[in-house]
């Protein structure tokens, strides 16, 4: 039992950190421009495919640096020549723009790399088990993912709170006009933040690609859950995104481990037959089976009872 709890905690934190790498960029972009970037998970996918391609040519480690830069550069270009023009027509147009962009990127990825999963390998230097808890091996690569994600989080936090650049970004979040009056180029800050957000998503892609599956549907699989993280954490809140990512990572991992069903709960009170026979399917469904929809249930509850999210300051 203790083994299951420990391993599940590790897995949950790891999944949570991966979510955070993506959610942090998404939430930054939202708090600056007020637009939910539907194509955000697509940059995660681009990161994985760029990483795969670069690893084929020069190895995994250069890919870890180059792929996010490339994806961030593309993100910045899209902001400069696409989103900025659309911005004039209001938020709905921006939303539709990013929505379309997600499909365009998916199609392009399919055209270049095909629809089959690509064989993106873990670097040999990390292909061993780091340690053994009871009898379960924990792969070194997963440990690396975890530490790398935490490193990025700390770096991001330091940049935003301790440096001049961070100050200007934070100021543009709340008082863009005043920052502009003071002589800063606010549109350029927007562009840089958009690029940075995309690069962060791409970092997640590069490190998750070898551990999970590098395939053209990977954006569609992770996209919806990102919005759940951002809304639960509170739109625009970095610390909120951090807490929500970990919460959802742990929630999903532990839900899988729980075999409780409604019939078990009633069983505790001595009721062993289903009082409503037409609901027999629901009667037997276990928590593990509904694990994938738990985050969405949480999303609905949060929106009902705390529309600003856990750490947010404004209404979603």
């Amino acid at each position: 039992m203790l083994e299951l709890v420990l391993v599940s905690t590790l897995n949950g934190v790891l999944y949570g950190m991966l979510l955070f790498l993506m959610a942090s960029g998404l939430t930054l972009i939202f708090s600056m421009m007020g637009v939910l970037n539907f194509a955000h998970a697509s940059f995660y996918m681009l990161g994985a495919f760029f990483g795969f391609q670069i690893s084929q040519l020069v190895g995994f480690w250069p890919g870890l640096i180059l792929a996010p830069i490339l994806a961030g550069f593309i993100g910045a270009l899209i902001e400069r020549y696409g989103l900025r023009n659309v911005h004039r027509h209001g938020h709905v147009a921006e939303l539709l723009f990013t929505f379309g962009l997600a499909f365009v990127i998916e199609e392009i990825v399919q055209m270049i790399w095909g629809k089959l999963p690509r064989d993106y390998r873990i670097p040999p230097s990390l292909d061993f088990s780091a340690f053994t808890i009871f009898s379960t091996n924990y792969p070194a690569y997963k440990m690396f993912m975890l530490l790398f994600a935490i490193g990025i989080f700390v770096a991001l936090l330091l940049v935003l709170t301790r440096t001049r650049v961070g100050l200007i970004i934070q100021a543009s979040l709340t008082h863009p006009h005043m920052v502009g009056m003071l002589g800063h180029n606010v549109p350029r800050i927007f562009m840089l933040v958009f690029g940075l957000g995309c690069a962060l998503a791409a970092v997640a892609g590069v490190i998750a690609g070898p551990a999970l599956v590098t395939q053209s549907n990977m954006a569609a699989l992770l996209g919806p859950i990102l919005f759940v993280v951002v809304v639960i954490g509170g739109l625009g809140s970095l610390s909120g995104a951090f807490i929500a990512s970990l919460l959802i990572g742990l929630l999903q991992t532990f839900a899988v481990a729980v075999n409780l069903s409604i019939s078990d709960i009633f069983g505790v009170f001595g009721i062993h037959t289903n009082p409503l026979p037409f609901l027999s399917d629901i009667w037997r469904v276990t928590v593990a089976q509904i694990a994938p929809i738990m985050p969405y249930l949480l999303l609905v509850l949060i929106l009902v009872f705390r529309p600003t999210g856990l750490m947010g300051t404004r209404d979603t």
Binding site: S129, A211, N217, Q289
Partner: protein
């Protein structure tokens, strides 16, 4: 030059309309078979292999003269592993004049096609469409929901589980079993058959876990593996296919899970690579209608040919039987009319791909054939073929004669009046 808005609108409309203007195929006289399976998303890896296998088979038959002097042609349709999209694609195939449909991945979609085709044929006499199922194994398709227009070449889930549990009956090292399956009609059929048959054949064995997970949506099985580990299971039974098998075993390898595996589809894309990573030498078993390394001459020749052309091994001996029997049925009926093909197939006896005789049972359109249990691991001189360049290959562990795979059916077939 300036265009008025009318001209611009007309131009725009013309652009939009282009994709819908499909050239009507005229005199080309091929026998077309619509392949409706996932070619994108989580099922793409398996759908792509199936498509290439069918194309290879069509080429193979065409080189030998096709049927009635006509060539076979496979036309691919992507059903995106979605029931709605499956029917849209089947309708599209029918609209373009195709009257033979084949599909295999996903029993839920197979049921949808069988139902759709049956209803379509009632309304469109003389334009009937026939459906060949090469891999969807939910027993219901040849029992309560059977149809004259549906033919299945794969052994159904109950037949496979019967073969697996008969083999497990004598393996005394099995004490605790964990079931993990995909949460849809097929996975449920596997788990309920496993529970019922184990209770009957091995009442001493304890089922320590009974897991259902979403179909082809999970990218990290680590939480499930942690749970299997915690249960203390020594063996796992799974019907998982495609990436759901490969990723499950990959996660098991990462965590160092050491159990025996009793599977339906361990040979699918990525499966052998993942098994090699676990280091479980001849501890992963699969049941099926054939494997490489059986030492049957004609099959070995075919295996060499397909490996020479593609970088995969033959995963679908059942597809070979399907295509060859289609050819035989057309020759026998002297017609490509689905009604006549169907009638010719009923009760047809056929020498199957891996040797031995199979029979398309007329009662329910379930193909009855010899089944094999095999294990994956290091090879001896008798096993020339390896899988996915792992060096490991399949080895025969037990053969079940066709007669011993027969299970009763509840099907009450209604046939078209002729």
């Amino acid at each position: 030059m300036k265009f008025g808005w009318h001209a611009k609108l007309a131009g725009a409309l013309a652009l939009v309309a282009i994709p819908f203007v499909v050239p009507v195929s005229g005199a080309d006289d091929t026998i077309k078979i619509a392949y409706v399976d996932p070619l994108s998303g989580g099922g793409a890896s398996i759908g792509e292999v199936g498509l290439k296998t069918f194309q290879f088979l069509a080429d193979d038959l065409n080189a030998k003269g096709g049927a009635l002097g006509r060539k076979f042609e496979i036309v691919a349709y992507d059903n995106k592993l979605n029931a709605q999209e499956t029917l849209v694609q089947v309708q599209k195939a029918i609209d373009s004049g195709i009257r033979i449909i084949t599909q295999g991945n996903g029993s839920a979609f197979a049921a949808a096609i069988s139902d759709f085709v049956t209803k379509y044929n009632e309304r469109n006499l003389g334009k009937e469409v026939i459906y060949f199922n090469y891999a969807a194994v939910d027993p219901v398709l040849t029992n309560d929901k059977c149809s004259f227009w549906h033919f299945r070449w794969d052994a159904n889930s109950d037949q496979k589980m019967q073969a697996l549990t008969n083999y497990m009956k004598d393996r005394k090292n099995i004490k605790k079993i964990y079931l993990i399956n995909q949460d849809y009609s097929f996975g449920q059929a596997v788990r309920s058959a496993a529970v019922a048959m184990l209770k009957d054949k091995r009442p001493d064995v304890e089922i320590v876990g009974d897991e259902m997970h979403p179909l082809l949506k999970i990218t990290d099985f680590a939480p499930y593996i942690a749970k299997i580990k915690a249960s203390g299971a020594d063996s796992v039974i799974t019907g998982n296919w495609g990436q759901d098998f490969a990723l499950l075993v990959k996660a098991a390898a990462d965590a160092g899970l050491q159990t025996d595996w009793y599977t339906y589809y361990a040979g699918g894309t990525g499966g052998p690579t993942a098994i090699k990573q676990t280091g479980l030498n001849h501890r992963v078993f699969a049941v099926g209608e054939g494997i490489p390394n059986l030492g049957y001459g004609p099959a070995d020749e075919f295996e060499k040919a397909i490996r020479a052309k593609y970088n995969f091994s033959l995963f679908y001996p059942r597809a070979v039987n399907e295509m060859r029997m289609l050819q035989a049925a057309i020759e026998k009926a002297k017609s490509t009319e689905p009604t006549k093909i169907g009638a010719a197939l009923e009760g047809m006896k056929f020498n199957v791909y891996d040797g031995g005789e199979g029979m398309m049972r007329a009662d329910d359109h379930q193909f009855i054939q010899p089944l094999y249990i095999s294990s994956f691991g290091e090879r001896s001189a008798k096993e020339p073929f390896d899988e996915e360049s792992t060096g490991w290959g399949w080895k025969l562990a037990g053969k079940i004669e066709a007669a011993n795979t027969v299970l009763p059916t509840t099907c009450k077939m209604s046939r078209p009046a002729s």
